[in-house]
Symmetry: C2
Subunit: 319 residues, 2 copies
Amino acid sequence: MKVIVLSNVLEDKHRELIDKTALEAGADVCYVNSEADIPSDFSDAEVLYGFGMDTAKRSKSLKWLCVPSAGVDYLMKPGTFANEDCILTNSSGAYGVTIAEHMIAVSLMMMRGLDRAYKNSLSGFWDLNRPSQKSLKDCRITVLGTGDIGTSFAVRARAFEPRSLVGICRSGKASSLYDSAHKIDELDAILPSTDLLAMSLPDTPETRDILSAERIALMPSGSFIVNVGRGSAIDEDALREALESGHIAGAALDVFKTEPLPSDSPLWNTKNLLITPHVAGNLTLEHTLDMNVSMFCEDLLLYASGQPLNHVVDRKRGY
Amino acid sequence: MKVIVLSNVLEDKHRELIDKTALEAGADVCYVNSEADIPSDFSDAEVLYGFGMDTAKRSKSLKWLCVPSAGVDYLMKPGTFANEDCILTNSSGAYGVTIAEHMIAVSLMMMRGLDRAYKNSLSGFWDLNRPSQKSLKDCRITVLGTGDIGTSFAVRARAFEPRSLVGICRSGKASSLYDSAHKIDELDAILPSTDLLAMSLPDTPETRDILSAERIALMPSGSFIVNVGRGSAIDEDALREALESGHIAGAALDVFKTEPLPSDSPLWNTKNLLITPHVAGNLTLEHTLDMNVSMFCEDLLLYASGQPLNHVVDRKRGY
């Protein structure tokens, strides 16, 4: 079995783990930094771990593509796979810690006015003004999308003693960590009692523009929004208006309908909008990369022994 | 019994609670926004709740001063109280939540490079560079000062799954939340295995310059420092050098030897130094003000019935 590992961020310890696993799995591994570097004797490889979109599109021999991302929306278009039966796995589960830390950080930055304090500090301004602050303590938090990311956030948010911590997802079933869990069709009933809406949804037809102008209007005046899932989930124009009017007190967006966010986007200058360039989850945190590699290795052993893989994407469902 | 309540931030609900308590305690309450507004018939008041430093200095009839701050260093100089037997209480216990939230926020901002990401966003720059990140997950955290603030931080930090959470305080005894607790004289032994040093110490002769150049050098390369106690605890010149050299990867200071931080201070332009203008704990968070007022009211009932107060400052110890 030929396996291509496509990455420019792996450290020695990761290669050692992959080599050890490959030996056990009876696989030959070829490490490359880019798809252009794949040698001809690996052009018929059965397995690719990495962002191997060109290979997937071209190679009929590829039987399993494991991508290091959690989101897989970019792999859902027809024509993505030359081999329609190619198994797709993602790395959902590796990003919970890092994205949850981002979510807590930006929530507190917004609610405590730390963005403003930091901005002032850049010009050496000791601001004696003390704007009112909000807190995660006694906050009514709604987690929209209760997968690994949402729930890793909820675990951390719980320690801040929120008044409520409600989970919303497709099934309406979530960890007992939440005070209650609901189906997405109950969202409208829950938004009016949401002080902080924490969104970590995949991009699917069901989630597109799920946070519409009407739903933003349902949220209490002075509430906050964090989005780390996919930018498609929010009506960005409606959010911009709600921020400018002050109805929404703050939003922190790490994902956008168009990325990179165009330099002429009005979002850059929107009041109380904290923009980060899709950095909540990436492989620069050692823990994330470690998890990512070990999840692939677990699946490689399962694959070699013909068992079902742990992290298979349901390509019909889209995540 | 005459009681002066000196504050310009109280809401109706707070005055209602104070009025109700005063009735029970048999006290006459006078609300003023500043000491200059104290009417002559209250110049001999027995109790003052607020920052009544002028009154304390002038009035021999003042028997109890309750300040809304946690730190009381500014009240330790000789001549502060006209009545040397005046009881001093502080509001230590009201600030744990708000300061702990600040500590978590700035720790994550530094460790995840969110300060840099936010700075870029101010000029509409979508930075595709992904600098390496650090995490509270698997972090070796040392909490220096395990009072209400340090321990409120530790409660929240625990949810982020640190590798270790060590408490250091005068007594060497701290909540079982910590993996271990140590006396201050063990600090030198603990610093070499500290990735994040979270400082929340009062200003006392014992804590002044406790984080010296020598101790900063004991910390691992790439470690982080947060200080929310008093600025006197850190040798600021030594910290600046350690930040510029990269030995310390980041520091977040909310308190300084001189406040406001002078506009010509070199700290403003120090690499990887996140400066906030003493905002971690103030009364703008509703929860903090609520706690503050209810702590005073509890003590007012005790005072009226001749019992020891809950929040008395040991003026010899200095906190």
